[in-house]
């Protein structure tokens, strides 16, 4: 009887282990001091981190990825927030079409998007430019911004806007003083996801990075094709930490938004 109750829990535990372990392995390997890829590592050290931080061939793509991602955050958050505000109030037919277009990058196979963009951008000589990377990544990032802001918007009591209007606030003042502060968590979470999406993006980058806009994922991919250098483990671990940090921030923001949303619904008598 006790075994029967332990069994499901241990199965789930095993599967979760399966999910988590590979990532942990990467982190462990990054601290190995062997030159080849073995596990478990014979000894530990910061060798590969040093290799990463001292090599401009790694640092330059890192820098490209960072500033492309930042530009994408600005562009995607701006366009996406406006669009989410608009879509929420569109009549049903238009709304479905607009949402379909905006969310389609989540569904269309990555390779199709990548070569489509490559096809068109190469016509205009945009391949190999960071600008092109920003333009393309923004399209991939907006679905996250729009989804996040829309979720935030739908949690706002519509009476709040009415209340603001009744108290003498013009529609503009209502937007800036009431709506915008309340969707702020959604906007920020969307911005975080936009950053992660752009920073980690590989398929489109493979085609349009050329030589002038080599991003970090592209550099890692090239390295993997030609040699398996544990530096990649160090880089990977750093990206994992970055991802975890951004996810944690997103989670905290969502929790704070929940608190604010609870304010007007029900209070203790």
């Amino acid at each position: 009887m006790r075994l029967a109750r332990l069994l499901p829990g241990s199965i789930v535990g095993l599967i979760l282990f399966f999910l988590a372990f590979p990532i942990v392995v990467v982190a462990i390997v990054s601290f190995s001091s062997a030159t080849y890829l073995t596990f478990p590592p014979p000894a530990f050290g910061l060798r590969w981190y040093e290799a990463y931080f001292s090599n401009p061939d790694w640092l330059k793509p890192t820098w490209v990825s960072i500033w492309v991602a930042c530009a994408v955050v600005v562009l995607a958050t701006f366009l996406g927030t406006l669009a989410a505000l608009g879509i929420a109030r569109l009549p049903k037919g238009l709304r479905v079409v607009a949402a379909g277009l905006i969310l389609s990058p989540l569904i269309v196979p990555g390779i199709v998007v990548a070569i489509g963009i490559y096809y068109a951008y190469s016509r205009y000589g945009l391949v190999g430019t960071p600008i092109a990377m920003v333009l393309a990544h923004t399209c991939l990032a907006v679905p996250f911004v729009v989804t996040s802001v829309t979720a935030s918007l739908s949690g706002i009591d519509p009476r709040l806007e009415q209340a603001a209007l009744s108290l003498g606030a013009t529609p503009g003042a209502t937007f800036f003083q009431v709506t915008l502060p309340l969707i702020q968590p959604g906007v920020l979470v969307g911005a975080l996801f936009a950053f992660i999406t752009s920073f980690d993006e590989l398929i489109v980058a493979l085609f349009i990075s050329g030589t002038g806009a080599v991003t970090l994922p592209r550099r890692m991919w090239d390295d993997l094709r030609f040699q398996i250098d544990p530096t990649i483990a160090a880089v990977s671990t750093l990206t994992i930490v970055l991802t975890a940090a951004l996810m944690g921030a997103a989670h905290l923001l969502r929790k704070r938004a929940e608190q604010n949303r609870m304010a007007t619904s029900s209070a203790a008598p």
């Binding site: 009476r159 009415q162 209007l165 009744s166 108290l167 003498g168 606030a169 304010a263 007007t264 008598p269």
Partner: protein, 374 residues
């Protein structure tokens, strides 16, 4: 408790005139008229309640007064000026919503100061007005708290403070006490009346709770199916309902089918269950017409003892007791008349009044003034 007398305070409150208001939604069929020809004259400084079941059009009408819905026909005039073309943020009307609608990201002070900020009132003066408003609703010093830290009743009071801080001449309230428990509701009802007396402005209140309406209002407009069924003071509506709907919606009523046999001045004589009943009747129904007479359960009494011979006991009926329920302060009897009509009688419970038993036959009596033809 119901009727206040503040005609003398006019000047501080806005007068509101609704003329043939109509609101139809998209489907444009006659059945989809949410508001169907509502006309109402709301006097300066009065506490008027729009009372009705859900779907009666009361909230839609309120929304049109506030400016959140546009009438498909008709006009709304506040202090003599038509406001239909005016957006809500220019109407200068205070409004309290059912779920308070306090801004969760602002403190109580910022919430209450919000309308003042929109009007460009400088900070120092704002602080004073906010403090005054919070005093008015008995929440002094709560300025630094956030709405989520307040109880439901406190949130409601902040909502009221926010709606009156900029000294509007009209205050609209959309079922503001609906989300609160009974005890709290009753306390706040009294506070609302006091507030109305203090401020002297016009209150338009929407509710489906007829007890609430009877307690608080100067006048009540009963609404049904998008139309006004009757307007009047609480006593008017209770004692002299114009139609069957009002008689049934406000308080409890007995309905007695009868046939008109004659008219004596303002009193109609009708035959009901083989006896003649007299009822107040403003119109002149034809002889032989089938009508309905209505009385209130607590105005009926068992006809025994000295009381039975007085003028107050002119109408009589023979009944059988089918149910007897003791409910604390009252005893409630279900009675059955000769032809099967059910009648409810309520009498105060008292040690000296004999309680009737089920199956007992009795005679009930009540006054003509308490009988209305609807």
């Amino acid at each position: 408790m119901g009727a206040g007398t503040n005609g003398a305070k006019s000047g501080r409150g806005a007068s509101v005139t609704l003329s043939n208001l109509e609101k139809t939604y998209d489907r444009a069929s006659a059945a989809a008229k949410a508001v169907d020809g509502v006309s109402l004259d709301i006097r300066s400084g009065e506490f008027l309640t729009m009372l009705g079941p859900s779907g009666s059009g009361k909230t839609t009408t309120l929304m049109m007064i506030a400016g959140f819905e546009t009438p498909t026909a008709g006009d709304i005039a506040i202090d003599g000026r038509s406001v239909v073309a005016m957006p809500p943020y220019r109407r200068n009307i205070g409004m309290v919503f059912q779920n308070y609608a306090l801004f969760p990201h602002l403190t109580v002070e910022e919430n209450v100061g919000f309308p003042l900020k929109q009007r460009g009132i400088p900070k120092a003066e704002r602080a004073k007005l906010v403090a005054d408003a919070l005093e008015l609703v008995h929440l002094p010093g709560y300025g630094a708290r956030y709405p989520r830290q307040l109880s439901g009743g406190q949130q409601q009071r902040v909502a009221v403070a926010r709606a009156v801080v900029f000294k509007p001449r009209l205050l609209l309230m959309d079922e503001p006490l609906g989300a609160l428990d009974k005890q709290l509701r009753e306390n706040l009802q009294l506070e609302m009346r006091r507030l109305h007396a203090d401020l002297g402005i016009t209150f338009i209140y929407v509710t489906h709770d007829q007890e609430e309406a009877l307690t608080m209002s100067d006048r009540i407009a009963v609404m049904n199916d998008g139309k006004v069924a009757q307007v009047g003071s609480p006593e008017d509506l209770y004692d002299r309902p114009d139609n069957r709907f009002v008689a049934g919606f406000i308080g409890e009523s007995n309905f007695l089918p009868a046939v008109v046999r004659g008219l004596e001045n303002d009193v109609v004589v009708a035959e009901c269950e083989g006896t003649l009943i007299r009822a107040l009747c403003p119109g002149r129904p034809a002889s032989g017409a089938k009508v309905t007479l209505t009385t209130r359960p607590e105005r009926l009494r068992f006809a025994d003892g000295a009381w039975a011979g007085t003028e107050a006991a002119q109408n009589r009926l023979s009944v059988t007791v089918t149910e007897a329920v003791f409910a604390g302060e009252r005893c409630r009897y279900m009675l059955r008349a000769a032809d099967g009509t059910s009648i409810v009688l309520k009498e105060p419970s008292s040690a000296v009044i004999r309680r009737r038993a089920v199956g007992e036959r009795a005679e009930i009596a009540w006054s003509v003034a308490d009988t209305i033809l609807v």
